[in-house]
């Protein structure tokens, strides 16, 4: 910028500070203007209103047989809804926290009074596959919960990571019981 010498000349003159100030104000205004133009472009890539409008779903859980479950689709992502047996609940409650990579009690992972229903994200925290085990016919791993076919992560009956490369338990999703047989996810 120095070759024209016009701007530096003024900068070193007696009114240099005023010129510097004007330049800063002009550049700052231009930067704000550019930001105001760029933000709508960037924000247009965020989830749109119609996508956000689909962020709540209602699921009828009455037909899910004991010991089995379903995969619901919430915001385009799979969600496990599993109807646990008494044995599975007992196993989950008895599991020692000290052996867990991401310790959490079973009570923290289900709603009180609805212990038979385990509702979590169905996305393995390792690299995003869907672990098998929602149906009793699928391999459920050593801990009777889920077994991820991609890299062998094993989850227990509270969907906590017990073995394999995944770093965390299957994340919980926000949900509420509308009545005993109907839930709202989201």
């Amino acid at each position: 910028m120095s070759a024209t010498a016009h701007v530096p000349d003024h900068g070193s003159g007696p009114d240099g500070t005023k010129r510097d100030f004007l330049q800063l104000v002009a550049l700052a205004s231009a930067a704000v203007g550019a930001g105001a133009i760029i933000w709508p472009l960037v924000d247009s890539m965020n989830p749109s209103k119609d996508v956000l409008a689909l962020s709540e779903i209602e699921v009828d859980i009455a037909p899910i047989p004991l010991g089995s479950g379903i995969i619901a689709s919430w915001r385009g992502q799979p969600v496990f809804i599993r109807h646990r047996t008494e044995t599975e609940i007992k196993e989950a409650q008895a599991a020692p926290l000290s052996e867990m990579r991401d310790p959490a009690t079973d009570a923290e992972r289900v709603k009180a009074g609805h212990e038979q229903w385990l509702i979590t994200s169905a996305i393995c925290t390792h690299l995003g596959c869907i672990p098998g085990g929602i149906k009793p016919t699928q391999p459920r791993g050593e801990f009777g919960g889920w077994f991820c076919p991609c890299h062998g992560s094993q989850y227990d009956t509270a969907a906590r990571i017990r073995k394999g490369p995944a770093p965390r338990n299957l994340p919980l999703v926000p949900y509420a019981f509308l009545n005993d047989t109907k839930i709202k996810i989201g």
């Binding site: 910028m1 120095s2 070759a3 024209t4 010498a5 016009h6 701007v7 000349d9 133009i37 933000w39 709508p40 472009l41 924000d43 247009s44 890539m45 965020n46 749109s48 209103k49 119609d50 996508v51």
Partner: protein
């Protein structure tokens, strides 16, 4: 000329880059110290505005394309979804739609500026030719963009414009089917229009680069139309014209904002908010405003091939302009008779625009024919003859003499930039 560039840049990182790829030196030379005639008026700001508009169109277009679906059953709904659901989608779409109008406004002023001040004359013929090419590519891009929302006007504009090619004898019909990818405007047509509408702005960008490169060889014309004779006639582009162009850009954005935020549909057609229906033509169909003069020329001749040939000729004739105008004096300031006819041409083009908007009946038909005839008379007969006959006014010695002698500026204030340059 192999070897590292000798860079004057002080910053070590920029110096390292500049010795290997002298971009910093180039920007400094072409946009910093570039000697620019010191007598520009604000009409010289429209080229810069056009470049900014192109960049805005590309930016908004890229983000619109992320939410648009080029399929005949989904295109219309996807545009509505952009307007209602996508964050700031309404702003992007209105800015893109009205940006096209702003682009044409700015480019038309830019072109008439060139006509008035004789900017197309030697040695700037190629600069002008590149400009006309930019104009043609712009029109093609705008037309294809207009088809994408798949409204009634989109569909029928596409039908009418592509059918123009059916006037070509013998091969016309196969060409039109090739353009359509079928036997009518349909999904293949929409797909290829989307593809080309995305491609052509980058072609435009390349053409603009060549346009500016050619400009920086010949240097800019100026309101007096005489060449700068030395440093006393010029100013460095920065800060003098970067600042002047910035002032013009602020006004440009003001007008643009009023259009986008208060009258977003002023220049559009309400029929385009009805989804395309291939079985029903709207009662009154017209192109977007910027095509109206050419549309009027198309309809001036009651013969299919003749009208189409005349319409294309009205643009192509501009390529020959540097050789049709035989007068050596550039600026209309010193051409008292040309100056009158220049304004007659401006009025003629406006009349053609109004005629293009009206249904082709009654007084509008002969009016369009007279205006069309005058348009061609101006370029084909008036300009070659006037150049030989007109007595031009005496040209000033130099830009500097004209600025200092004619203006009310005190000597000290006016000579200050001269010392610096």
């Amino acid at each position: 000329m192999v070897g590292l560039h000798h860079s004057d840049v002080k910053n070590p990182v920029l110096h390292w880059i500049d010795t290997r790829l002298p971009v910093v030196t180039m920007i400094q030379k072409e946009y910093g110290s570039f000697p620019t005639p010191k007598n520009f008026n604000y009409f010289w700001a429209f080229g810069g505005m056009a470049m900014v508009t192109l960049l805005l169109m590309i930016a908004t277009g890229i983000f619109l394309a992320m939410s648009y679906t080029p399929h005949i059953t989904m295109a219309f709904d996807s545009v509505e979804r952009i307007m209602r659901d996508v964050n700031y989608g309404w702003l992007l779409r209105y800015a893109h739609e009205n940006g096209a109008s702003m682009f044409f406004i700015v480019v038309y002023v830019h072109m008439f500026r060139g006509l008035y001040y004789g900017s197309y004359k030697a040695p700037r013929e190629l600069l002008w030719i590149l400009g006309i090419t930019i104009f043609l590519v712009m029109m093609a891009t705008a037309f294809m963009g207009y088809v994408l929302p798949w409204g009634q006007m989109s569909f029928w504009a596409a039908t009418v414009i592509t059918n123009l090619f059916s006037a070509i004898p013998v091969i016309g019909e196969p060409i039109v089917q090739w353009l359509w990818g079928g036997f009518s405007v349909g999904n293949p047509t929409l797909n290829r229009f989307f593809s080309l509408h995305y491609l052509l702005p980058f072609v435009l960008f390349g053409l603009v680069f060549l346009h500016v490169a050619a400009l920086h060889i010949t240097g800019s014309n100026n309101p007096l139309g005489i060449e700068p004779k030395g440093p006393q006639d010029t100013l460095p582009f920065h800060p003098y014209y970067t600042v002047k162009d910035s002032v013009a850009l602020c006004l440009f954005f003001l007008v643009f904002a009023v259009l986008v935020f208060f009258f977003p549909d002023l220049l559009g057609h309400s029929d385009n908010y009805i989804q395309a229906n291939p079985l029903q033509t709207p009662p009154h169909i017209v192109p977007d405003w910027y095509f109206l003069p050419f549309y009027a020329i198309l309809r001036a001749v009651p013969n299919k091939l003749g009208g189409i040939a005349l319409m294309f000729a009205s643009i192509l004739i501009l390529y020959a302009l540097p050789w049709l105008d035989t007068c050596k004096v550039r600026s209309a300031t010193f051409r008292p008779i040309y100056r009158i006819f220049f304004w007659v041409l401006v009025v003629t083009c406006l009349v053609l625009g109004v005629v293009g908007e009206q249904p082709p009946e009654g007084i509008w038909v002969p009016l369009g024919q007279v205006a069309t005839a005058y348009y061609f008379f101006h370029f084909l007969i008036l300009l070659p003859v006037l150049g030989k006959l007109e007595r031009t006014l005496p040209l000033p010695e130099s830009i500097s003499q004209s600025v200092l002698g004619g203006g009310p500026l005190p000597t000290g204030a006016a000579s200050k930039p001269m010392e610096k340059a």
